[in-house]
């Protein structure tokens, strides 16, 4: 069988005999993860490899079991989108010790585990959060009061999107003041509830909102609409744009997000996994682009299908 072009090397065995295990964060929880899982499955089929895509339902312990179960089937490579930065290190260590190459995708694992993986692919959550801080800071002209709507606390994505945002904001925009920060558990309806409460509490004081993802951002926009705000009156900035968020940006409700493609993310992960399965060297870190999407340049991007 001919090696595909992107492989950059020889196939050690036919693609149809290549077995890869993939465990994705939580396809049930948002569109990005769902699209990622869907793409992973479709792309594996296209390549003709044997891939197992699994869902740990956000529970690191379950993901741990999944890695263990996959490792006991001796796959050629494992792709792990870790639910937790550090909790999976022992599992990955054990898989790696039994000779199975592991790559992580989308979210990185903690420092201590880096030596057990062959490579990492995916977007940089921290960079996205920093971008969000910049976009919001700029939209407010460097000063104003903002509120924050967080994801489910305790997961690495939430932690990165919080801390990197706060750091960047403190560094670059000292006059932006954070009025309050609450979790809405990645839930659009809860985001709406939290935002409604903010509006009651702070009223017109709020100049901007940062939501950890677009799903919650849409809940925030709903609340703004409910409170009779005009588009753009309150600046809403999120990470990781969804289709509806794109629409909202066109309509003027949304002031900044970033494009992150689950399709690119999944394909890159699988290509990398096939490479390591064939013993080909891969770079330690392969990023995917996450350009800022702003009302000015929103037309340059296609409407996301997720």
């Amino acid at each position: 069988q001919d090696a595909p072009e992107w492989l950059g090397g020889e196939l050690k065995k036919p693609l149809s005999e290549t077995r890869i295990g993939i465990t994705v964060l939580y396809p049930g929880s948002n569109a990005y993860q769902a699209k990622y899982a869907e793409t992973a499955e479709a792309y594996s089929q296209e390549l003709g490899i044997q891939a197992t895509v699994m869902d740990p339902q956000g529970d690191p312990a379950v993901q741990f079991d999944q890695i263990q179960d996959m490792a006991s089937q001796n796959p050629d490579a494992l792709v792990v989108w870790p639910t937790s930065q550090n909790a999976l290190i022992p599992a990955i260590r054990n898989a790696s010790r039994s000779g199975i190459p592991v790559i992580t995708s989308n979210s990185p694992i903690g420092e201590a585990g880096r030596r057990y993986i062959v490579g990492h692919t995916g977007p940089d959550d921290c960079a996205q959060a920093e971008q969000a801080a910049e976009m919001l800071g700029d939209a407010l002209g460097g000063e104003g009061n903002i509120v924050v709507v967080e994801g489910t606390p305790g997961y690495s994505v939430s932690i990165l999107r919080k801390n990197c945002f706060l750091d960047r904001l403190a560094d670059g925009y000292p006059d932006v003041n954070i009025l309050a920060s609450q979790t809405a558990e990645w839930n659009r309806e809860k985001a709406q509830t939290v935002m409604e409460t903010y509006l009651t509490q702070f009223g017109d004081e709020i100049d901007g909102v940062y939501a950890f993802d677009d799903g919650m951002g849409l809940g925030v926009i709903s609340a703004l609409q409910g409170a009779g705000k005009e588009p753009g009156e309150v600046k809403v900035v999120t990470c990781n744009q969804f289709g509806e968020g794109w629409d909202a940006m066109k309509a003027g409700w949304h002031s900044g997000s970033n494009k992150q493609s689950p399709v690119d993310d999944a394909i890159l992960a699988i290509q990398t996994a096939v490479k390591v399965a064939n013993g080909i060297e891969v770079p330690e870190l392969q990023g995917i682009e996450t350009p800022k999407v702003l009302p000015e340049n929103v037309d340059e991007f296609e409407r996301p299908t997720w």
């Binding site: 569109a31 769902a34 899982a37 409460t197 903010y198 009651t200």
Partner: protein, 317 residues
Amino acid sequence: MEQRFKRLLRRHGLVVAFLVFLAGVAFNADAFLTPGNILDVLRQVSITGMMAVGVTFVVLTGRLDLSVGSLLTLLTVIVVDQHNVAGPFPAIVMTLIAGLCIGAFNGLLVGFVGLNALIVTLAMLSFLQGLVLFYSGGSNVNVENAQDTWFAVFGRGEFLGLPLPVILFLVGAVIAGLVLQFTTFGRRVYGVGGNETASIFSGIDARWTVFWTYVISGFTTGVAAIIMGSRVMGAQNTIGQGYELTVLAGVILGGTSLLGGSGSIWRTVIGISMLGFIQNGLLLLGFPYYVQWLVTWAVIIVAVWIDLGAKRGRIFA
């Protein structure tokens, strides 16, 4: 005077505790007891409240329904998805029918087959979660023409200055309350919950009674899903996760006995509103979410204990 106060406390200890809480928060947060905020809270609790109205029927017969959270997710996904496919009216009809059917299935297993309600509805929780993922393929669904569909009224509309979801919730609660207080069906529900065997000996078909309470619970969850879909104009596969516990906590907080036979809708309305006001009040006071959890814990224990102690006339068991 003191006697009267004692009696008031005994019968309405819960309400008194609630008022004390409200006053406490209002003292510290000016925005709390404003009409706008109260309406906001009511709007927020209208979803869980609507579900709690149905679940109260189930709990009154001495059963449980833990599947309502997953069912809410499924039905919200259905209503939003079908709205895009078939339009709002068919979507609403389909959602309500789906809610009725799944309620009926629970009712069949618990009422007629006689399985343990906790486990059956736990199993349904898992099963329905799977069904949602199967139905949606894991992706989110959104109402496509969100700007110009009349479907938006359920979540966002107003009538006489009251938000429509609040009206739906209150009307649902009043109807349910009337049904429980004044109809033969209500009497059967209390009878079966109070003493199932004696009710059977009185010619009441406990199986059907239990069956219908689950159907009602499925139906109110359907209405809640319509409010949810309309409020959010979209649905995630996790949107109803954990709602079963909130709903149950509200029902219990209202003082409806898990053993069945005692409790009422208006108490459920109080219980679930209490949860809403607690969450809102703590948000307004700027407490982090985990403090909310700690307070919810404390409130559940204290309120239920006060209620129980007042009924018993003694603090300790």
